[in-house]
């Protein structure tokens, strides 16, 4: 390995621009003659748009145009789509209502856009948007998904009777029911997975530039997947054909899923820039982000676990209602189905599983994938159930889990997934050692002497990443293939550009991807550039989400590198009159094994381009591309243990200790992997303790700013997360990678809640575990004890 190759803690190449203020985010871009867009948004959760009067707005200074949904529809701009078809258990396709980028008839959530103002400055556009008079006829709203399915509930879309999008199932119901008929013990819980708002620190933004002479659009935007955006904008929204549309996602300030989707605002900027024939920029403010960025989670489940007399799990039965909000966002349908219920086996040998999922429309912001996407919901359910079942049957939570661990691989679960590799005992042992599990009782006693309640809770998570074999996801309803592409361009001077369809918005691809080249050719990472995020530069790509950039994106780079290496060796063998099989590459040189003959990488590259002396029939140049289609999902797994101290007087929970033992397969850059885990854990701890998107019964979002939605701050977290990784290689891809981006957010919430419920001796706790809720349970416990 070179010093900066695979496994090295290489400092990030991209940092210099960010620490000196030279990052280039979408809002930093300008264009000559640029106007600003401001949206006119519904203040009602459900209302009929009776009329829109733009006359006063049009008279205001700097206002160029006010455009409405009627004009948008009239121009043939398509409805927003959901790209994953789910069929209900009766075989019928999901019921998808129409979603227009500007709504001309019925608004279905607070914040939905009905018109857009284009003006010379942002302030003028916002002033004028306030002056657009929209006459609404208010309709009854429904925000609770269970209530939404009841008779007489307000109906959102004519296509979806009773607001039901689909009624889907997975697993063998008969076998599962039989397990329950024969169970020695059944654990049953109602579990709510709270609604979250992703909140990347950079709000969404767009700058659309139309060239009327070329009939060509350029869109700078905050996207995790600019090529998918271009495809969808072309093929479904009829903005422009693909060759007339360039999408650039420059530096992007975090995504966490929320920047996967193509939203109304970006579409409208593209359309409006042509309509008014000037560049149009829009930047979301934070409240707009709360009201329009896709939310995450929001599952209500009833779960039952059947055990035999020896405490082996024999069955799991789950009914989940998933709130998808007012419209079906781009991948929303897949989240509560194939990204969720397929992980309900957890790390455990469960012979029979059946899950029923009902997805429901409500008058709330659309819900889609947020860091983890379905897998946090599955993990929370399984790990709360495991902890609770262990307590009910009087086993230690660790022993109960260990007894039911899957130990043989490959393992086919009853819910589609075939786990390829893992060692769940290894990560459980590592986490228990790291937290000094056996010393907990003494620490608990010491805390009690100070009037504090100590608790410990664990979570043994598994997730599916590397999404995913295209044929497999196609058979499950995905509208796209989920491969990745890469191109490796060796320049005549021997420097290398790697073009990737993955997109970095904080993950550090410019560093880790370059490590692959250093590893392979022994050239310094300053000789390598990673190019991404521009549809004019990179031919195609599926982007970054679902922890796929390593397992899928880097696998594509490896495939391209294989081809470059093979050609470079052929050239070197020819030039040095040696056999191709005798050529080795190290330290930036191609050598003939067993001799002192060698050529530098630069000399070989130059030879490829001068083409004066190449093997007969060889094309000049040294540039290769590859598409990599995964062979399976990958299965990162691990154990997280959380130790908390609760103050029964205030209900405040303090996380004293948090340990994470992860199996991510091959780790390329441990520093970056640790950073991903820190961030993921913090988002999971945020879900467990702090964050909640709260609606009132009329559909007003009560938590639409940072004054109301509690983001984790530095002092909400323990002094140190203690991390370790334990590698079992993924057999499905060339590097053995599994993915690390989401694990922290997936595995941590149940560990925190299991710890608090252990501390307070009450299991009736829902997320977020606010001091008020915890205090109420402490009080109830004390009263019960007194009686």
């Amino acid at each position: 390995m070179g010093v900066d190759g695979i496994g090295a803690r290489v400092l990030r190449k991209e940092d210099k621009r960010f620490i000196t203020g030279k990052g280039r985010y979408t809002d930093d871009m300008t264009a000559q003659g640029m106007g600003y867009a401001a949206f006119v948004r519904s203040p009602h959760a459900h209302a009929r748009v009776k009329s829109i009067d733009s006359s006063a707005a049009l008279d205001m200074p700097g206002v160029d145009a006010v455009l409405t949904g009627e004009q948008l529809v009239g121009d043939g701009i398509g409805n927003l789509i959901c790209g994953w078809m789910i069929h209900s258990k009766d075989g019928s396709p999901m019921n998808m209502g129409a979603w227009r980028a500007l709504e001309p008839e019925i608004v279905r959530h607070v914040g939905q856009a009905v018109a857009v103002v284009i003006a010379d400055t942002q302030a003028q556009a916002r002033d004028a948007a306030d002056a657009v008079v929209v006459d609404y006829e208010e309709l009854d709203a429904v925000v609770d998904p269970v209530a939404a399915m009841e008779a007489g509930a307000p109906q959102l879309h004519p296509e979806a009777p009773n607001n039901l999008i689909y009624d889907w199932e997975i697993g063998d119901e008969t076998a599962t029911n039989a397990a329950f008929d024969n169970a020695a013990h059944v654990t049953r819980m109602e579990i709510y997975n709270n609604r979250l708002v992703p909140n990347p620190m950079e709000p969404r933004a767009a700058l659309a530039i139309y060239d009327s002479a070329e009939e060509h659009h350029t869109l700078y935007t905050t996207s995790q997947n600019p090529h998918v955006a271009r495809l969808v904008l072309s093929a479904f929204y009829a903005i422009a054909p693909e060759h007339k549309l360039r999408v650039i996602a420059p530096d992007v300030g975090g995504g966490f899923g929320s920047k996967i989707y193509i939203y109304p605002e970006e579409m409208v900027c593209l359309w409006a820039s042509k309509k008014v024939d000037r560049p149009v920029k829009w930047v979301s403010d934070r409240t707009e982000a709360f009201l329009t960025d896709a939310h995450g989670r929001d599952h209500r489940s009833v779960a039952e676990m059947a055990l035999d007399a020896n405490n082996n799990i024999t069955g799991l039965r789950v009914k989940t209602v998933a709130n998808l909000g007012a419209y079906m966002s781009l991948f929303s349908s897949s989240v509560p189905t194939y990204l969720y219920a397929t992980l309900l086996s957890g790390q455990y040998n469960i012979p029979a599983i059946h899950a029923n999922v009902k997805a429901v429309y409500t008058n709330t912001v659309p819900v889609d994938a947020y860091r983890g996407a379905g897998r946090p919901e599955a993990t929370y359910l399984v790990e709360r159930m495991m902890e609770t079942a262990a307590r009910e049957v009087g086993m230690s939570p660790a022993d109960f889990r260990r007894k039911n661990f899957i130990t043989q691989f490959p393992h086919q679960t009853p819910v589609i997934m075939c786990y390829d590799a893992g060692d769940y005992s290894a990560t459980l042992d590592a986490a228990m050692n790291a937290i000094d599990y056996s010393g907990f009782a003494a620490r608990k006693a010491e805390a009690a002497s100070r009037g504090k309640l100590r608790g410990i809770g664990m979570s043994c998570y598994i997730e599916a990443c590397g999404i995913a074999p295209s044929a497999a996801v196609g058979s499950l309803g995905a509208g796209v293939g989920l491969w990745e592409s890469a191109e490796v361009r060796v320049n005549p001077v021997g420097t290398i550009e790697v073009l990737t369809g993955s997109h970095s918005h904080g993950q550090g691809h410019e560093t880790t991807f370059a490590q692959l080249i250093t590893e392979r050719f022994g050239i310094g990472n300053d000789q390598v550039s990673i190019v991404h995020g521009d549809t004019d530069k990179v031919q195609f790509g599926m982007g970054t989400y679902g922890s796929r950039s390593g397992a899928v994106g880097m696998s594509a780079i490896v495939k391209a590198l294989d081809k470059v290496e093979a050609k470079a060796k052929k050239i070197a063998a020819h030039l040095m009159e040696a056999s191709e099989g005798d050529i080795t590459i190290e330290g930036g040189e191609l050598k003939v094994a067993g001799t002192d003959k060698k050529l530098t990488f630069t000399e070989v590259a130059l030879a490829a381009y001068t083409a004066h002396n190449l093997p007969a029939g060889m094309e000049p140049g040294l540039k290769e591309g590859a598409f990599y289609d995964p062979t399976n999902f990958t299965f990162p797994a691990g154990t997280y243990i959380c130790e908390v101290e609760v103050d029964p007087e205030t209900g405040k929970t303090e996380i004293i200790n948090f340990v994470a033992a992860d199996d991510f397969g091959k780790v390329i850059n441990p520093m970056i992997v640790e950073g991903q885990v820190h961030g993921g854990l913090t988002q999971g701890i945020g879900q467990a303790l702090l964050e909640n998107a709260a609606y009132d019964e009329t559909g007003q979002l009560l938590t639409a700013s940072y004054m109301d939605y509690c983001m984790p701050r530095a002092d909400d977290l323990p002094a140190e997360f203690k991390l370790s990784t334990h590698e079992t290689l993924c057999p499905g891809n060339p590097l053995g990678m599994k993915g690390c981006g989401e694990a922290g957010a997936i595995g941590s919430p149940p560990a925190v809640i299991n710890a608090i419920t252990d501390a307070i001796g009450s299991n009736a706790l829902s997320m977020p575990a606010t001091p008020e809720k915890v205090w109420q349970l402490c009080r109830a416990g004390m009263q019960q004890a007194a009686e």
Partner: protein
Amino acid sequence: MSQISMVVNGKRVSGTVEDRTLLVSFIRENQGLTGTHVGCDTSQCGACVVHVDGKAVKSCTMLAVQANGSEVTTLEGVASGGELHPVQAAFREHHGLQCGFCTPGMIMSAIDMINRHGAGNLDEATIRHELEGNICRCTGYQNIVKAIKAASDQMAGMAQAAE
């Protein structure tokens, strides 16, 4: 409209702004210094922190006219002569940033924090408490806290060496 003038990163600048123009807009749009970011509308996130007359200020909470006659330093102005400020260097060394969007405010708050407490006088708990007004969604703060502590200690060493 008001005519204003101030020193930004050592350079005298002036401009005509609406009275309601925020300092952050003047910095980003009039001066083209886009290293200062806007992450919220309620002065919670701290991505917009700059120094005004040596004190950390959320530039989304101050009108440009209020900064008339002041000295303003943004992230672009903290390195000297091509040398990174120790806090900038520490953020890279300790992987204290991921997407980079909150980083300008984090670094400006950290420099202010070290200035107020004195180099070498920051412990982990104090740093966490002081970061109340800076939100990061990527890093979980652990490496930010480490970076600030390391920079503070390093700056104390530099001050000692200079004596």
